[in-house]
């Protein structure tokens, strides 16, 4: 196969990876700080995607514009969810958290099935089929916009956590729970806030995802799994880590699909996961856990 094909596939893989990373961002935030394993992550993204689809179908509003409102809706939902339901589970064993969120995921998936039916929905923007051609390179327009939005959002989030007071406070909670309380931080509120921010990320990611994939009610679990692979690979609580993890997975899968049989390309993602877990458990950009 010629170099052109590899180039195209690699670029596509990187862009896809950026989108995956964005999708995993919310999980990284939640897992890294609140230490709750959000097994309903993919399902929450599915809700955001349906919101985007409905808004587009009814009002022809581009998902990229609707990013903020959708993220806001998910923000509120996330806050309520954490404060109302999840908070007591932070100290409970993982299998309890797991069951709680699996049950939640089940409810979400089937409620969406009832409301929207099983058929795939998509957002048909005017640029849905556009592609840019630069020499031998053909780049998918939607993926490019989505990838760009992913980088932007990550930068935004990174800045928030690094340079704002609230962001620092949240990081303090993550680093030292007791210490944070001693210093006078309202940890319960900050946890809820973090979950809300994570949910908002998921919301934004969902809105952007509608540009590149179709949504069905059963989409959630696959993406939850993918998000976990990326978060562990990239490093807990690290925003750039999530993006990097996503790009690594996206690129590997793309090249593997090209070299071997595409139906087995996910195996490589899992192989990377295992390798990271064994040899660099904190992830590529994560901090060494205490």
């Amino acid at each position: 196969m010629s170099f052109d094909v590899y180039l195209n596939v690699a670029v596509g893989g990187i862009l896809t990876g950026l989108i995956y990373g964005l999708m995993a961002l919310g999980l990284s935030v939640v897992f890294g700080v609140v230490r709750v394993v959000n097994f309903a992550h993919g399902e929450m993204m599915t809700i955001a995607m349906y919101l985007a689809v409905v808004l587009f179908a009814q009002f022809h509003l581009d998902p990229l514009l609707m990013l903020v409102p959708i993220a806001a809706v998910l923000f509120v939902c996330g806050y309520a969810l954490q404060a109302g339901l999840i908070n007591p589970f932070i100290t409970r064993p993982e299998h309890s958290q797991f069951l709680l969120l699996v049950a939640l995921g089940l409810i979400i998936v089937n409620s969406l099935l009832i409301v929207f039916g099983p058929d795939a929905r998509s957002v048909q923007t005017s640029y849905a089929y556009d592609s840019f051609q630069i020499g031998p390179l053909i780049v998918d327009a939607s993926k490019l916009y989505a990838g760009g939005a992913a980088i932007l959002l990550t930068a935004l989030l990174f800045t928030f956590f690094r340079f704002t007071r609230t962001g620092t406070a949240i990081r303090a909670c993550a680093d030292n729970y007791t210490g944070a309380q001693v210093v006078g931080l309202n940890v319960k509120h900050l946890y809820a806030l973090t979950f809300a921010i994570g949910a908002a990320c998921v919301g934004a990611a969902g809105a952007i995802m509608t540009l590149v994939i179709d949504v069905t009610p059963m989409l959630g679990p696959t993406y939850t799994l993918l998000a976990f692979v990326i978060v562990v690979t990239g490093g807990l609580g690290s925003m750039p880590g999530a993006l990097l993890g996503g790009v690594l997975i996206g690129l590997t899968e793309a090249i593997a699909g090209l070299l071997f049989t595409p139906s087995a390309k996910s195996m490589f993602a899992f192989a990377i996961l295992v390798l990271v877990l064994l040899f660099r458990p904190q992830g590529l950009l994560g901090k060494r856990l205490a």
Binding site: N8, Y129, I138, A141, D214, P262
Partner: protein, 409 residues
């Protein structure tokens, strides 16, 4: 003690003539006496296969009224959701039989269908399979399981024969083809079958590359890039609905329009494909089990479906689900009773030529498989499906080659 007794001769005569009168007045009296047949319909209406299951359900829902208008006995349908899960399928089948189902129908997914088939065989309740891919299901020596749907080798044989005919009609043929298929039960069965079936036909093209992709894949850019790099004339494909849409989008974005897209599976002719892709949906030719537009019953089914589910075009899922119920009602009428053994024997001797699907009609071989089914050839044109082969069944000339995607506004 005196006993008044009708002598055997006279009694026999009396009984015999009563029976004779009854059989002469047969149809109306039999109908009046036949209670509705309890048919359990098992489909995956939630879970991973919900889309297909609910589509099949549409075909089942319109059946009772149509069957009644044909003078066939009534069916009492008992719906059950297998939830795309094999444990649930088995439990639901048992429950239906427990609740009095006299016949089962379903279930699309091979694993669930096989589980239900076992239950049906154990209980001696007839089970009519509407759609299921795995050939093995009718190779188990079952006496109560029947499948009115072609197996992968059957679809391939019919498809290749039809392709040869189509090439003759359009006067052109691809020299090379790249074969893409979804890596699930159906796709894999088709892939394995090609190696066996294709050499039997003198196909003008060779398959230069075979690309299998994950059924859960949301992004097929790598697969299409690989296919494009094979530099083949045509794209031979076995996919599902969602992949068909994804593949088409990638073909557009990567700027590759094959000479022809020949599909031997679902997806490319389905409503959602046509509606979602609009002008970009034109061109692909599907070689699939399908309705025969020239058969009377097809029109009846089409009209009924249009009324019950407006905007939904008649296609494979509806056709074969309807036919399964047609078989049930027809067998019931001929058996005259709901005795499972009688029903099974009646089904085995089914011979319905006034059906909906392409082919000589509905008959079953000793294994319970309808081995006479044929495929239709339909092309997407202007948001509709037109039959383009064989010549007798064609409604229009095939468009060959496909209009490049880039040229469509």
């Amino acid at each position: 003690m005196t006993r008044i007794r009708i002598s055997p001769n006279r009694r026999d005569l009396l009984v015999g003539s009563a029976a004779a009168v009854a059989t002469m007045a047969a149809p109306s009296i039999l109908h009046a006496e036949l209670a509705p047949l309890k048919v359990g319909v098992l489909l995956p209406r939630s879970g991973f296969e919900a889309g297909i299951g609910q589509d099949c359900q549409r075909g089942a829902d319109v059946a009772p009224a149509i069957l009644k208008s044909l003078g066939l006995p009534a069916l009492a349908i008992m719906d059950a959701d297998t939830e795309s899960n094999v444990d649930t399928a088995r439990a639901r089948a048992e429950k239906l039989i427990n609740d009095g189902a006299q016949l089962l129908m379903g279930a699309f997914d091979s694993g669930q269908t096989a589980a239900i088939a076992q239950v049906a065989e154990q209980k001696g309740i007839p089970f009519i399979i509407n759609i299921a891919a795995a050939p093995d299901i009718t190779e188990q020596g079952y006496k109560f399981v029947f499948r009115n749907f072609p197996t992968a080798p059957m679809i391939l044989s019919s498809a290749f024969a039809n392709q040869l005919e189509l090439f003759g009609i359009v006067g052109a043929a691809p020299k090379t083809a790249v074969f893409m298929h979804v890596n699930d039960t159906f796709g894999t069965a088709m892939s394995k079958g090609i190696g066996v079936v294709m050499p039997k036909f003198n196909m003008p093209y060779t398959i230069v590359d075979e690309i299998a992709y994950d059924p859960a894949a949301r992004d097929l850019s790598v697969e299409v890039a690989k296919a494009k790099a094979a530099n083949a004339d045509a794209l031979l494909v076995v996919s599902r609905l969602n992949d068909a849409m994804l593949l088409t989008r990638e073909l557009v974005k990567q700027r590759w329009t094959p000479q022809a897209i020949m599909s031997m599976g679902p997806g490319w002719y389905e409503d959602q494909y046509l509606k979602t892709l609009g002008k970009l949906s034109d061109g692909p030719i599907s070689f699939d089990p399908f309705q025969d537009p020239n058969k009377k019953l097809s029109k009846v089914l089409e009209d009924a479906l249009a009324k019950s589910s407006p905007g939904v075009n008649l296609s494979t899922n509806h056709v074969y689900t309807f036919e399964a119920l047609l078989i049930a009602a027809d067998a019931y009428k001929r058996a005259g009773s709901a005795d499972p053994k009688a029903l099974a024997d009646a089904i085995r001797s089914t011979n319905i030529t006034d059906n909906v699907s392409v082919g000589p009609g509905i008959q079953f071989n000793a294994k319970g498989q309808n081995d006479k089914l044929k495929c239709g050839v339909i092309q997407n044109r202007g948001g509709k499906l037109v039959a383009v082969a064989p010549k007798e069944a064609a409604e229009a000339n095939a468009e060959w080659p496909m209009t490049p995607y880039q040229n469509r506004s």
